[in-house]
């Protein structure tokens, strides 16, 4: 497909996963990501690959666990309440160091919440989400094209670091259509999966486990995980800067919120206001260094997110008191408008001038 095609985010990411060599998809229906499951039910068998509609999200992530343990590329997708159920499996994937890709097309919470778009699973995504000391790599695309481009990256990162990569989208991104290009890019050079369970033929038994009872063994295992996470923080941060030249105010936003902010920033610039945007693309590892550097230069930070304020905590940690960090949050399925962001920027520009 070297031509632009019009696709919704959910279907586009599904096709991108197939192109990235996803061997198996397991999922349970939940709005607003049902197009992924439906698309996979059609396309995976066409490609001779595995599709199962599981009995629950618990089962879906466990099926991913099983397929991943045999060295296959496996994924699941869900939306917020379903991803809560998957946390058990994600913790086990972390403990057992198995690669997996999980897509969360976020909707409003807590509880059953609503089916409106939201970004309120940021904490869950970036703090590990389940029990234990672990992380998942979290990608926060903001266009359908980025969804397409980051799926192969998600699989590569998962395989390279033997861990879960979470693709954090939201209802708008999943549902909206944009023209996209599927381009085959070379993937990363990946280590062999010599740990995979393929039958103990001509080698010793392989064991995939997360239980370490011997004294000190689990602590050692945890330190190994942390060393891996340190490497990721050093090497895998992705972040976009937009119109920071001559800025005094920096808005930090990711995903769909960043698109709306971008429009507001571009209009504010037309009106002469000194404002720019930092858009974290990897939410974990968070672009702490980039924001910390920016804090040396810029006077004021504003976080815009579709939650009551979750990413703002990471921004504050990065800014470390060097500048005020304000929040404009829209929880419970609220979507900020360009006008409301513009109004805030206007007010802030006045106060910065003073």
């Amino acid at each position: 497909m070297s031509q632009r095609v019009l696709m919704c985010g959910n279907e586009a990411l599904a096709e991108a996963a197939i192109l990235a060599g996803c061997d198996a998809y397991f999922g349970y229906p939940i709005t607003p990501q049902n197009e992924i499951t439906a698309y996979m039910s059609r396309r995976m068998p066409e490609e001779g690959r595995v599709f199962i509609q599981s009995e629950s999200e618990l089962a879906a992530i466990s099926m991913v666990f099983g397929a991943a343990a045999t060295g296959k590329r496996a994924m699941t997708s869900s939306s917020s309440p379903g991803v809560s159920l998957m946390q058990e499996g994600i913790s086990y994937l972390a403990g057992a160091e198995l690669p997996a890709v999980v897509v969360n097309v976020m909707r409003g919470g807590p509880g059953l919440g609503s089916i409106a778009p939201s970004q309120s699973d940021y904490f869950q995504a970036t703090r590990g989400g389940g029990h234990g000391d672990y992380r998942t790599i979290v990608l926060g695309p903001s266009t359908v094209q980025e969804l397409v481009d980051y799926m192969p990256l998600a699989f590569d990162l998962a395989d390279q670091y033997q861990m879960t990569v979470l693709v954090l989208a939201d209802g708008i991104l999943g549902q909206m259509m944009e023209p996209i290009l599927f381009e085959k890019r070379p993937g990363r050079e990946l280590p062999p999966k010599d740990w995979a369970l393929t039958g103990a033929k001509g080698r010793e038994q392989n064991i995939v486990r997360s239980l370490w009872l011997a004294e000190g063994k689990l602590e050692e295992q945890n330190r190994k995980l942390q060393a891996k996470y340190d490497q990721i923080q050093k090497n895998e941060v992705l972040c976009e800067e937009y119109r920071l030249e001559g800025a005094e105010i920096v808005v930090v936003a990711y995903g769909i919120a960043a698109r709306i902010v971008r429009s507001a920033v571009s209009r504010a610039r037309q009106e002469g206001m000194p404002v720019g945007l930092i858009r974290p693309i990897t939410l974990w590892p968070f672009p702490t260094e980039q924001i910390s550097r920016a804090a040396e230069q810029f006077r004021l930070f504003l976080t815009v997110e579709m939650s009551s304020g979750q990413m703002v905590e990471d921004v504050r940690l990065a800014v470390a008191g060097k500048a005020p960090v304000l929040l404009h949050g829209r929880p419970g399925g609220g979507v900020p408008t360009v006008d409301e962001i513009l109004d805030i920027i206007k007010e802030l520009s006045v106060s910065v001038k003073r």
Partner: protein
């Protein structure tokens, strides 16, 4: 000269951590023997439960995975569907399979997954200290039924095999007991058949429920425990082939 008690190669040569008189050690040996007799060691993947048998892989020398409590049938599904040529078995206790994993085993059976399930029923939670299992019998005293299980308070013992046998996707269900030499022989035959079906590519799930002693939390000596299986357990969990 014929050695009578030769260790089968897929069983590791090490002492187990199980209590004296526990059924797990025997069941492990039977599984290992069947794997070797069918010559499938190099393509078998075993799934350990959460429970006393969580360290299954320390004793059975095949590729193994340890999974979340109750999720073995879902994990097995993920493995088998992506690796149809491999032989996948799960080894699950009654807490794992009949309680927290009830949905997973039901739906694996319902989908007709080509799996071999060894279900060890000892009517109690061993690893966590002798609490009630769904299969605990009426009147049985456990850490969480100190006055004995009653139907009114905790419901009747859950007969998983009978339920599983109802599903079209389940092709073989047999209940056996580790209650003496004859019972052990029958158990091995059943386990072997459950593996054979998968080796032959038979379409559906095969389950063997093994009534197995837990002298420790039944609070009785091993000899009495075997007796209790015969006299008490089999009343609620009748032995024999339920399907296939």
């Amino acid at each position: 000269m014929k050695t009578v008690f030769a260790r089968t190669p897929s069983l590791k040569d090490c002492p187990t951590h199980y209590c004296p008189g526990c059924g797990h050690g025997i069941a492990h040996r039977l599984v290992a023997e069947c794997i070797d007799e069918l010559d499938i060691r190099e393509r078998t993947i075993g799934i350990a439960p959460v429970g006393c048998a969580v360290l299954l892989y320390d004793y059975i020398d095949v590729d193994c995975i340890e999974v979340a409590h109750g999720r073995a049938p879902a994990v097995a599904t993920g493995m088998k569907r992506t690796n149809p040529e491999k032989i996948i078995f799960s080894y699950q206790g009654d807490g794992d399979l009949a309680s927290i994993g009830a949905a997973e085993i039901l739906h694996a059976g319902h989908r007709g997954e080509q799996l071999t399930v060894i279900f060890i029923n000892n009517a109690i939670f061993g690893m966590t200290g002798g609490q009630m299992a769904p299969t605990t019998t009426l009147g049985q005293v456990t850490a969480t039924t100190p006055r004995g299980r009653t139907a009114a308070e905790q419901g009747y013992p859950l007969q998983v095999s009978e339920i599983m046998a109802l599903l079209p996707g389940v092709i073989y269900v047999e209940r056996t007991a580790l209650d003496g030499a004859a019972g052990v022989r029958k158990t091995k035959k059943a386990i072997k058949h459950a593996f054979e079906l998968q080796v032959e590519g038979a379409e559906g799930l095969a389950l063997v429920e093994v009534l197995s002693p837990c002298p420790t939390y039944w609070r009785m000596p091993p000899a009495k425990a075997t007796e209790w299986i015969k006299t008490e357990m089999t009343k609620v969990f009748p032995l024999g082939r339920l399907k296939g």
